[in-house]
Symmetry: C2
Subunit: 345 residues, 2 copies
């Protein structure tokens, strides 16, 4: 495929064939998109940027997988507000090392991940750069007026629950980068699948929204402990997490075993597993603070929708964040989340 | 000022002191912002990215000026849809060469340029990178349902008018970069002012929207000829531009004179001036296709609001884009617009 020459040719080629979204009055190609928000709905707006070498590596992920995960990162934020995804703007900063076809693969994968959740790309921007590739997606959603979940509503006694398997993204990356050259073939197939195409929690969030069971919610894209700290601070509460209740997962355990073996520290396997599950990991899963009287209803909804949901602890009065360890002791639940200004990546 | 360490500290420091916007139900700091669109309004959504070395140079522009122009670029797109600016998401990709204080200067300047137009920053993203600094602003606005201007409504007989002085941005940059080291002190003061703090055309656009005079509109951030071509293609019309009617401007003429002298080609001054006015130049001005029966009303509104408005030609049937030159000949109006994939920058 020849490289299209000018920006307008490249943009036209990117925009052609994109699915048209609902509520789109004017789509891509004008100064701005025009969108119709339904009556009685609030708008939610979020954005996420992936930078090459920082949020992904091309020797570990394909262009299409990056597009899929960029969509997933934003969908997860919209789900964590109990909202329906609707419209997206995709901005690409493209160095010479990326071909137009690669940009298109990323964009198409992003659009393909958004479509089943009800969202379409309605505009964006394309520019060249000397530096690393960067993609910014801004995602808009709709939520019934006044019904958005925030981080601030958790109450003592709330059930703490999490979807999926926290730590999967961290384990995947650690395994892939453990040896040179990087290779994700060392990771279990289920782990790879879960990370390269994260399941959307939008449908589950919308079902929960109807149940009024959720007092507060956050997505755990920084890591479970760090995002839980955000909720506790915003809500003025503490928390007690039971290590033995964290989701058991064979692929994650195999990763911890392999990593500790590679590090020549087989005895450290348990501590490593805990660190993977609670520490920095960009998993697009929901952490939910639930009305205890509605827990069984939440469990039923999760089961119906095929969403893994684990009850991992309880919100407490005060401000202490405690991990009741598998060994039977109480430890401070204090583990840094992912930080794009840290030295990693 | 010490460098804040983690992403959360940096984000908290960036978010503190931002003005709270109208219609903001949940502001920065949650998974997403929650916003209330007024009844009977459509939403408009646009985004623009500035990359260091491509859209700006730090030896020519200050961090605050970059923030101001980033706001102006997006405000101009919203104005070109006849909409009111409301909410913005600002995403920064930050290399080690940018301090936190510099990011803050850019962000504050951006917020300061948005505020008088009715818009506030309600969220965003911050990440580090090895590569050049990049800032992406996504701007949302509101427009009365069905009232957005597009590029597609121009009709034969329409008056073609433009605000401000097209070519100012190109002239500023050419003058600043004409000698080594770059220096904008060679440019006339009025030219510098116009480019580093572009006046907003939002108020004028909103006044025009009430008059129903506008059949089509576009902002000329690519360059007058290129953006006019976009309108002609989208509307299925031609155009005739009168070179002698293009806005006369002493600062622009002085720039053309200085540039041709520097190039040792004093005789080329006229051609250079035409190229500056019609060619690639990221001016945040409006190109308007107006009902000829309402031209005097448009002139009056422009005068009342202190907006320079020039009647520069007419929309024609067919598809020819013609420049009636000052020399009395007809020439093809065909000049490439700004292209971020060209070799410049």
């Amino acid at each position: 495929m020849p490289e299209p020459g000018s920006e307008s040719e490249r943009i036209a080629s990117l925009l052609s064939g994109l699915p048209k979204g609902e509520g789109v009055i004017v789509g891509p190609g004008d100064d701005a998109a025009v969108l119709r928000v339904r009556e009685g709905r609030d708008l939610v707006a979020t954005t996420d940027t992936f930078v090459e070498g920082r949020h992904f590596r091309r020797d570990v992920s394909t262009c299409a997988e990056v597009g899929t995960r960029l969509a997933a990162a934003n969908l997860s934020d919209v789900a964590a507000m109990a909202a329906e995804p609707r419209w997206a703007l995709l901005s690409l900063v493209v160095p010479p090392s990326w071909t137009h076809a690669e940009c298109q693969l990323l964009e198409r994968a992003c659009a393909r991940a958004l479509a089943p959740e009800g969202a379409a790309i309605v505009g964006g921007n394309l520019t060249s750069s000397r530096g690393p590739f960067a993609a910014t997606l801004a995602l808009l959603g709709e939520v019934e007026r006044g019904a958005a979940w925030t981080r601030a509503g958790a109450r003592p006694g709330d059930v703490l629950a999490v979807t999926g398997v926290p730590g999967s993204a961290a384990a995947f990356l650690a395994i892939a980068l453990a040896e040179d050259p990087p290779s994700r073939s060392r990771a279990a197939h289920e782990l790879v699948e879960r990370v390269v195409a994260p399941p959307s929690r939008v449908r589950f969030a919308r079902a929960l929204a109807n149940s009024s069971a959720v007092h507060a919610a956050i997505d755990i894209s920084d890591g479970l402990a760090a995002d839980l700290a955000h909720v506790c601070e915003a809500s003025g509460v503490g928390v007690r997490v039971l290590e033995t209740s964290l989701p058991a997962d064979a692929a994650l355990e195999a990763a911890a075993r392999a990593l500790s073996a590679l590090a020549g520290d087989a005895a450290g396997e348990g501590a490593l597993l805990t660190r993977l599950r609670l520490g920095a990991s960009d998993d697009y899963e929901l952490l939910l603070m639930l009305d205890p009287g509605k827990w069984s209803e939440c469990e039923r909804l999760a089961h119906e929708l095929g969403v893994p949901l684990a009850r991992i602890g309880e919100i407490t009065a005060g401000s202490a964040r405690v991990l009741a360890t598998a060994a039977g002791a109480d430890a401070a639940l204090d583990m840094p989340g992912w930080d794009p200004f840290s030295s990693r990546g």
